[in-house]
């Protein structure tokens, strides 16, 4: 247990001391998760709304597929994205392999089914009376869509948090697509994996504490938002 306590002590020192390597990993994580969450929400929320709102042929199989994709292993996504972004791959010319945008592409693929599936679930559980009320008050199609989204905001927020949790804690995509390059593509999770392998528990624990702190801040913000709503 001594090495863990020693590691915890070192972690506090690194964080308070503003260790550049530690904070580089934190900043890389925040950037890449920001990109991936932004993209997955922009694409996923409208798609999820359509999937939950409209009735169409093939809806059930599509819904099943989305729910299945929620459990995609990160290493599998990493493998696929790597194959596409590598120099010989179809998107090799864009030079995205071993970059933060490259990781963001993989994390977007990871987060999308979660956002789509949970948004669809929130919309499906929407009371039919809401649509009637909005149309009775004169909403056009765009207003119906936006107002319905606003009314289901709690469910969509829950989906976003679940997606964010997956994105923040994944290792496979960051490792395979990012390459874990120090100062560039080393994220919190890949750094923890590397430092633990090296026996450097201090940095690993420090980064783990930062990860916890980020998750805590996100959940507190959401709780405050829920209270306000």
């Amino acid at each position: 247990m001594d090495f863990l306590l020693e590691g915890l002590f070192q972690a506090v020192q690194l964080l308070i001391g503003g260790d550049a390597e530690t904070y580089s990993a934190v900043w890389a994580t925040l950037r890449v998760s920001g990109y991936s969450m932004g993209c997955s929400l922009m694409i996923g929320v409208p798609l999820g709304f359509c999937l939950g709102y409209f009735d169409f042929r093939g809806k059930k199989p599509l819904r099943t597929m989305v729910d299945t994709l929620m459990a995609l292993p990160t290493v599998f996504i990493g493998l696929l994205v790597y194959a596409f972004l590598t120099r010989n791959g179809p998107l090799g010319d864009f030079g995205l392999l071993f970059t933060l945008p490259g990781i963001a592409i993989g994390q977007t693929i990871l987060a999308l089914p979660v956002v789509i599936g949970l948004t669809a679930a929130a919309v499906e559980s929407m009371d039919e009376k809401l649509r009637i009320a909005l149309m009775s008050l004169g909403a056009n199609r765009r207003q119906l869509f936006l107002s319905s989204l606003w009314e289901t905001r709690q469910g969509i927020l829950a989906g976003a948090i679940a997606a964010y949790g997956r994105v923040m804690t994944e290792v496979g995509i960051s490792m395979m697509v990012g390459g874990n390059i120090k100062w560039h593509t080393r994220t919190i999770t890949t750094a923890i994996a590397l430092e633990t392998n090296k026996g450097q528990f201090g940095m690993g624990i420090a980064l783990g504490l930062v990860l916890l702190a980020i998750a805590f801040c996100v959940n507190v913000s959401v709780s405050l938002l829920r209270k306000r709503n």
């Binding site: 009371d127 809401l130 649509r131 009637i132 009320a133 149309m135 009775s136 004169g138 056009n140 009314e151």
Partner: protein, 328 residues
């Protein structure tokens, strides 16, 4: 127009005209199509066949001609997850005309008997069912609609709220010329307040008047005739029904104080007057006669109205002709 769900026709109406600034009632049992008809008239759904014209123009969901001018108040109170002010102001805001928004919200709330000062900041979850339905009505009245469709407006609310809702609706008609279409199980009230009352059954309009519709199951009597019992001593006879699910449309004639047959083909029923209403449109008095557990509505003659010999609690006789019973 016709409308269907999952291939099953739920509404089939050849034609229906609702005059401007009139009050029209829809009566019928559960599943008769009243709510479906209101949703179609409210442009919430589009009929699978046929069309709806508003002021001569074809309209459908999201039509600019119908938006803000036709509004439906559903049976169950429902508010958006925002405060009372947000709910009442919603329609005004999306219309884009936000002049004196606060004043208009307060005015709409006062129409339904709610104090703006006390209610305007309340969240949606802090309202009783009656208050929520009144806020929902206020949101629609704030738009000053040309047509207000009310689906069982007082079914899910307490008595004071029901009274306020009725008053607000009729005030809208008086002050704004709003056309009202009301679906209700309280048919005595409908006949009291409406210019016309349409009777729906099985998705069709069977008539507009005081006919009584009787539902199965039907019993075959020893005489070979078919009919229905209303309690131990009372029953009605008719020809054989097409099926057990068939309904019979019965037109009951005038009220007699003695057991006399007006026509030799008539059958006489003994009942008790339970209520006498003033019919708004015609200005005539109509009586509700309880024959066993079945109610019939009969218009009083001018003589009966003048002489005032009929009153609730009095035993009377009504007659009908079995041959004139229509099966649907």
């Amino acid at each position: 127009m016709k409308h269907a769900y999952g291939g099953r026709t739920v509404l089939s109406i050849e034609h229906l005209i609702v005059a401007k600034a009139s009050i029209v009632g829809l009566r019928g049992p559960n599943g008769s199509g009243k709510s479906t008809l209101l949703r179609l008239l409210g442009l919430i759904e589009k009929p699978v066949e046929g069309e709806i014209l508003f002021n001569g123009q074809a309209v459908e969901p999201f039509s600019p001609e119908g938006r803000f001018r036709i509004s439906l108040l559903p049976q169950e109170p429902f508010l958006m997850k925002r405060g009372v002010f947000g709910n009442v102001a919603y329609g005004i805001r999306i219309r884009g005309d936000v002049r004196d928004l606060t004043g208009r919200v307060h005015e709409a709330l006062s129409l339904v008997g709610l104090s703006g000062r006390d209610f305007v900041q309340r969240p949606w979850y802090a309202l009783s069912g009656g208050e929520a339905q009144r806020v929902a009505l206020a949101a629609r009245l704030a738009l000053r609609p040309d047509v207000l469709l009310l689906d069982e407006p007082t079914a899910s609310v307490d008595i004071p709220s029901a009274e306020r809702i009725r008053e607000a609706a009729f005030k809208a008609r008086e002050e704004m010329g709003t056309t009202l279409v009301i679906a209700s199980h309280h048919w005595q009230w409908l006949y009291e307040v409406c210019d016309e009352v349409f009777h729906l059954f099985g998705g069709k309009i069977l008539g507009k008047g005081r006919e009584t519709i009787l539902f199965g199951p039907w019993t075959r009597f020893d005489s070979g005739l078919w009919g229905k019992r209303f309690g131990d001593q009372h029953f009605i006879v008719a020809s054989r029904p097409p099926s057990d699910e068939s309904a019979a449309i019965v037109h009951v004639g005038s009220i007699e104080e003695d057991n006399v047959r007006v026509d030799e083909n008539d059958v006489v029923l003994k009942g008790t007057i339970t209520r006498i209403n003033l019919e708004r449109n015609s200005g005539r008095l109509v009586a509700t006669i309880a024959v066993g557990h079945q109610n019939f509505i009969v218009e009083l003659t001018e003589r009966q109205t003048r002489e005032r010999t009929l009153f609730p609690g009095k035993d009377v006789f009504v007659h009908y002709c079995p041959k004139k019973i229509r099966w649907v």
